[in-house]
């Protein structure tokens, strides 16, 4: 059951497109679709991973954001240098709240902004010497680091610095891995290419570091891929896997270490949470080491139950029993939570606009609470993400790719959802419009939301937001009082 019919949704799209000039209208029309569950492939109805239109407000990030901010940043025991001007590093420093266990500045370095702080002279004469000096300084200041990654910002690519040469030389000097990552912000159309570049650099510089070394393995070794431990997510997932009898060898990359990543080729199964940002390395490990991978979803009890059973199906009866035991243990607690919050949230409509995996993964969690997702969309997804989304979403719901500020506001004004889940860039606009809003990138400084423990927090947060009386008292500042 959907709140509005296909025709109405189609009208809505037409109305929103009306304001664009002819050419832009034609382009944007390809990025908006009405869901049809019978479709096997999204290719014919939605175009994705294309350059954003000049002149519209897009919510996308850059390749550097995808590599430093998402994939490399959360690895706690290596130091990621933001190589270039100082701003990029400052805004990418621990902003995603990738939690870690360790002492910041001693053996964990996620929260530090370590940058080569490019000046005019570095652009003119090149920054390689500065980079070499910076690596020596890091070694002196933070001797407990296990490795260094060099995250290039735009100018490094533009002036043609040879960071690979510096990395090789310095790696020999300090005896630790030094990984050059060519993730200049101008590459690609969004942060998505940054994920790919980061995956490729892991493939080329990390994954084979311990080839041939002994590793004490068990038949139950798994790795968590694509969980960035936002607000403690990976921990909430990890305890479930450990409770069912699996051994989690590595966390990529929230609260992860370089050693864990180097040991990953020894696992029996790769568990992939964020498909978009880590499918590349999973596919590589499948080909090179024969490690199967599977996607799972730890949002909301229904999906967790399905995922736990699917994970267990890759192992023997001991793990299968373990999965059932875990499900049985948490089911009463989950029923209690649903009984408490479902009456308060039943029938509420949600609109999502996030990135990575959430626009489809959290749908199940909302449905567990009796809520309905009426619109969803990604900032930087590819077609394979939409293939997966079509199956999760209801018929005739709205799907938007790389939505612009104007489109999002108009959709919200027409669909009038009871809750919007998006990021910080959208948050205050919708607050001013008087809509309940949760940030679904950083869990609005709450979390974790993964796993059974996370669902308890998720349900409470959604209730606190949706049923907050303040929203009825709000009037957008641009709407004049009638009086």
């Amino acid at each position: 059951m959907s709140a509005i019919s296909r025709e109405e949704t189609q009208e809505l799209i037409q109305e929103v497109l009306e304001v664009y000039p002819e050419k832009a209208k034609k382009d944007r029309a390809k990025h908006l679709m009405i869901n049809d569950k019978t479709l096997e492939s999204s290719k014919k109805c939605i175009t994705s991973n294309r350059k954003s239109l000049p002149g519209v407000m897009t919510m996308r990030g850059c390749a550097y954001a995808g590599s430093k901010g998402v994939v490399w940043g959360p690895i706690k025991d290596i130091i990621s240098i933001s190589h270039g001007p100082i701003g990029c590093g400052q805004y990418a420093r621990g902003g995603r709240r990738n939690y870690f266990a360790g002492t910041s500045g001693v053996d964990a370095f996620c929260e530090l902004n370590i940058t080569s702080d490019f000046q005019e002279k570095d652009i003119v004469f090149g920054g390689d010497k500065k980079l070499a000096k910076l690596i020596d300084e890091i070694e002196m200041l933070f001797p407990l680091n296990k490795g260094i990654s060099i995250q290039s910002e735009c100018p490094v690519g533009l002036i043609g610095d040879d960071i690979e040469a510096v990395a090789k030389k310095k790696a020999a000097d300090i005896g630790k891995p030094v990984i050059p990552v060519r993730c200049e912000g101008f590459r690609g159309v969004s942060q998505s290419l940054g994920h790919h570049i980061a995956n490729d650099s892991v493939r080329d510089w990390v994954i084979n570091n311990r080839a041939g070394q002994e590793f004490e393995s068990t038949p139950y070794d798994v790795a968590i891929l694509g969980d960035y431990n936002i607000g403690g997510d990976a921990w909430a997932s990890r305890i479930l896997l450990e409770e069912m009898g699996l051994r989690v060898v590595a966390q990529w990359s929230g609260d992860g270490t370089l050693a864990e990543m180097e040991n990953t080729p020894n696992v029996k199964l790769n568990l992939l949470h964020c498909y978009r940002s880590m499918n590349y390395i999973s596919r590589y490990m499948e080909e090179k080491f024969g490690i199967p991978w599977m996607e799972y979803n730890f949002f909301g009890p229904t999906k967790i139950k399905e995922s736990l059973r699917e994970i267990a199906s890759h192992f023997d009866d001991k793990i299968k029993e373990g999965a059932e035991r875990v499900i049985a243990k948490y089911t009463p607690a989950m029923e209690e939570i649903i009984a408490k919050y479902k009456p308060r949230l039943q029938g509420k409509k949600v609109m999502l606009y996030v990135g990575g995996l959430r626009p489809r993964h959290v749908v199940g969690a909302y449905e567990d609470l009796g809520m309905e997702v009426v619109g969803t969309g990604y900032e930087f997804a590819h077609n394979d993400d939409y293939d997966r989304t079509i199956k999760e979403m209801g018929d005739a719901t709205l799907i938007y790719d790389d939505a612009t500020g104007h489109e999002l506001e108009d959709f919200v004004n027409k669909l009038k959802p009871d809750l919007i889940g998006s990021g910080i860039k959208e948050k205050y606009v919708f607050h001013k419009m008087g809509y309940p809003f949760r940030q679904l990138h950083s869990w609005d400084y709450s979390g974790p939301y993964h796993g059974y423990d996370g669902f308890a927090i998720f349900a409470k947060d959604m209730d606190l937001t949706v049923n907050n009386p303040v929203w009825q008292m709000m009037k957008a500042p641009w709407l004049k009082d009638a009086a």
Partner: protein, 74 residues
């Protein structure tokens, strides 16, 4: 020519993956499928056709190969 990857699906069939274009689809038919000669024209479930040079059947899937687009989507 494009880099592609062929892997086995959970159901046992072959899956074609073209990362550059995000095409991931089942292979509905493969021209040569014997231990000595494997490859040739690949017909995809989405209607596309690709060509890979015939090779001896790979011992293990997935395998990365170079493929030529013959016909169909992208």
């Amino acid at each position: 020519m494009a880099n592609i990857m062929i892997r086995k699906s959970a159901a046992g069939g072959l899956v074609f993956y073209l990362p550059k274009r995000d095409i991931e689809d089942a292979i509905s038919s493969i021209e040569f499928d014997t231990p000595e000669k494997w490859g040739g024209e690949l017909k995809l479930a989405n209607g596309g056709t690709y060509y890979i040079d015939p090779i001896p059947e790979p011992a293990r899937l997935p395998i990365s190969l170079r493929a030529k687009r013959v016909d169909g989507v992208e």
